[in-house]
């Protein structure tokens, strides 16, 4: 036994027929980063009022007592606040990251140092990624997980395929993101889903906040960190006017840029026009825009024929989920030269003598060039996660196999928990007004089909 490993120690877990190999109590890149991680967590806690008020509200009653939650979600400082909230509410938690590159090693170290089994580091291999998830399935007392908190669906899939013997004991799963929710509906349709599932992604306080307000701040953060460009007076082209596009357009305009929108949907196009944006096609916009942002969720939005029309040193980036919106391959194949300015910033010299600056290789610019979503907006998403976990754990039998949304009432509660931090004063319906509207003074205030 080497000195380093002997410090960590190992414990062995047994489980009925399946005996798993001895596993370390945690696996992180560098436990020495724990203090830095803790400082980050303390700052994030202050910006995550939803989670902190759940601790205050449910901390004493411990509604998650007995829950053994295996979590698979980006191991960041914000997630650390989520994890410690679940623990505060009585749950036992084991964690892995849902992306091989997204772990913040200092956050993981702080969580490991607080005694929570976490298996995550920035830069895992694909095999290590699965190993990490597998370590979170069986707890130190030898008993398996009974709850899943997932982002992207890999943990849910793994349990359904390779570890299906655990399924009968699992009360449910709460899923964070579009990709994972899509997977849940697919499993449901195929009849392979065996546990109740909560779609946290489509809570109003998740998608309508994460996408709109998160991107509104992180897009410009990414562009500025990457290029230090002055936005005022520039012409910026935003492809797509959905939640993400709306946030991006608003942020760019606020800096004094003139924003042009491209859209395929007449409703969104009209929305953009009535906000005062010029709406036109990429063919026309590409000859005047100095900054290009794709937000569509579609593919091949900015192509070779657009690149060649762009002014010199036009900045091109993507903030849509997948990296197929900008044809980065066209640049790779057709550029005369490529100069790496700094990590995530490449300058391509085209045959026409002009340059194109591509950010984050066409991947998410707010993750590649900035820090992603700020804590406050993640607090919205994660408060939904905690409420979904409480719902599934405390009401066994009420939810059969299927994909559920959080009740409107809980969605409203998530928002309510964030108001005080911002100094918001909410008006309350009088009983007379309440009777007039036919709406309970305590909510829910809107019908389910309301669009916000």
């Amino acid at each position: 036994m080497t000195p380093v490993l002997s410090v960590l120690g190992v414990f062995r877990v047994h489980l009925g027929k399946a005996s798993m190999a001895s596993k370390p109590p945690y696996k992180v890149a560098d436990i020495g980063l724990k203090d830095a991680g803790r400082k980050g967590i303390i700052l994030a806690e202050n910006e995550m009022p939803g989670l902190m008020s759940l601790r205050k509200k449910y901390g004493p009653s411990k509604p998650l007592k007995g829950a053994k939650i295996a979590g698979c979600l980006h191991m960041t400082v914000q997630t650390a606040v989520l994890i410690e909230t679940l623990v505060e509410l009585g749950a036992e938690v084991q964690w892995s990251s849902c992306n091989i590159f997204s772990t913040q090693d200092h956050a993981a170290a702080a969580i490991a140092a607080s005694g929570i089994p976490v298996y995550a580091w920035k830069g895992e291999t694909d095999e290590e990624y699965i190993w990490c998830i597998e370590q979170t399935l069986v707890f130190s007392d030898g008993k398996p997980l009974n709850m899943i908190l997932d982002d992207g669906g890999d943990l849910t899939n793994l349990v359904h395929t390779k570890y299906s013997e655990f399924l009968p004991g699992i009360k449910g799963v709460s899923e964070e993101t579009t990709t994972g929710v899509h997977n849940l509906y697919k499993m449901m349709k195929a009849g392979t889903l065996k546990i109740p599932a909560f779609n946290v992604n489509d809570s109003v306080t998740k998608s309508k906040f994460d996408n709109l307000y998160g991107c509104r701040e992180s897009l410009v953060d990414g562009i500025k960190r990457a290029t230090d460009i002055m936005l005022a007076g520039k012409v910026a082209v935003v492809a797509g006017y959905g939640d993400v596009g709306k946030g991006c357009a608003q942020a760019l305009r606020a800096f004094g840029a003139r924003v042009i929108i491209t859209e395929i949907d007449p409703i969104n196009a009209l929305q953009a026009a009535m906000e005062g944006y010029q709406v036109t096609t990429m063919e026309e916009a590409s000859s005047i825009g100095q900054i290009y942002v794709t937000t569509t969720g579609c593919k091949d939005i900015i192509r070779g024929e657009h690149f060649v029309k762009m002014p010199n040193d036009a900045i091109v980036c993507n903030i849509g989920h997948f990296d197929c919106e900008v044809q980065a391959r066209w640049l790779e194949e057709n550029a005369k030269a490529k100069v790496n300015i700094k990590p995530q910033v490449d300058r391509y010299l085209l045959a026409n003598g002009r340059n194109i600056i591509l950010l984050a290789e066409g991947r998410l610019v707010n993750l590649g060039c900035a820090m992603g979503h700020p804590s406050f907006v993640m607090s919205n998403s994660f408060t939904n996660q905690v409420l979904a976990q409480i719902e599934l754990w405390t009401k066994p039998g009420q939810y059969h196999v299927g994909v559920y949304m959080l009740p409107k009432k809980l969605d409203e509660e998530v928002a309510a928990l964030h108001l005080e931090h911002l100094g918001v004063k909410l008006t309350r319906l009088t009983s007379d007004q309440s009777a007039y509207l036919g709406v309970d003074a305590d909510g829910p205030y809107k019908p389910d089909h309301y669009r916000y």
């Binding site: 080497t2 490993l5 596993k23 370390p24 920035k122 291999t125």
Partner: protein, 201 residues
């Protein structure tokens, strides 16, 4: 000049030329007497031959002494040169070791790796089916035994603060060395370094 260079090259291959150039070759046993002066200090000798008359055996004796001295000098020079030869041989093996270590360290640093490596930690080298070598955070033990590893296990190494790599089987030796050096550095007094010696009980 050329000969000097060729000698140096020769040295590089053979390290040492025991056979010294002829101009420095030691004399054989021929006796050479001090040259005569028939008018020493300006005084004319009466009979220069009478003054220098000698027993013929004296020369033989002298010659024998010279031969003995020659033998001693040769032996001493040889033994001194032998020490140098040993040192050169040792230096050469040291140089080879340094170069070999540099090569191994460099190749380990160039193994594929997704994470930032931290000095003082153990990392595990594996080989993918494509032939790519990569560092992993996970030991074969953590995979549940070498047969459970996803790829061929090549070895465990510790990254040192000087960015060199220590193979698993030398970890203790290296740690002991570093501990001694640390003791020397952190101590105000002179501490004698005893490499490879058991501490006396």
């Amino acid at each position: 000049m050329n000969s000097v260079i060729s000698e140096i090259f020769y040295m590089k291959r053979r390290l040492l030329i025991m056979d010294l150039p002829s101009r420095t070759r030691l004399n054989d046993g021929t006796v050479k007497l001090v040259e005569r002066n028939i008018e020493p200090c300006g005084v004319q000798l009466v009979d220069k031959d009478a003054v220098a008359r000698r027993d013929p055996a004296d020369l033989v004796e002298l010659a024998r002494e010279i031969q003995t001295a020659d033998g001693f000098v040769k032996a001493t020079a040889c033994s001194k040169l032998q020490v140098i030869a040993e040192q050169v041989r040792f230096l050469q093996s040291q140089a080879q070791k340094v170069l070999e270590e540099a090569r191994v360290n460099s190749s380990l640093h160039h193994a594929a790796c997704n994470f930032r490596k931290v000095p003082g930690r153990l990392y595990h080298l594996y080989q993918r089916p494509s032939g790519q070598n990569y560092f992993s955070m996970l030991s074969p033990k953590e995979w549940g035994g070498e047969n459970k590893c996803p790829h061929k296990f090549l070895g465990t190494y510790r990254l040192e603060n000087d960015m060199s790599w220590t193979p698993e089987d030398q970890l203790q030796t290296r740690s002991d060395e570093l501990a001694i050096l640390h003791k020397v550095l952190s101590s105000d007094q002179n501490v004698s370094i005893c490499y490879g010696l058991e501490t006396p009980n």
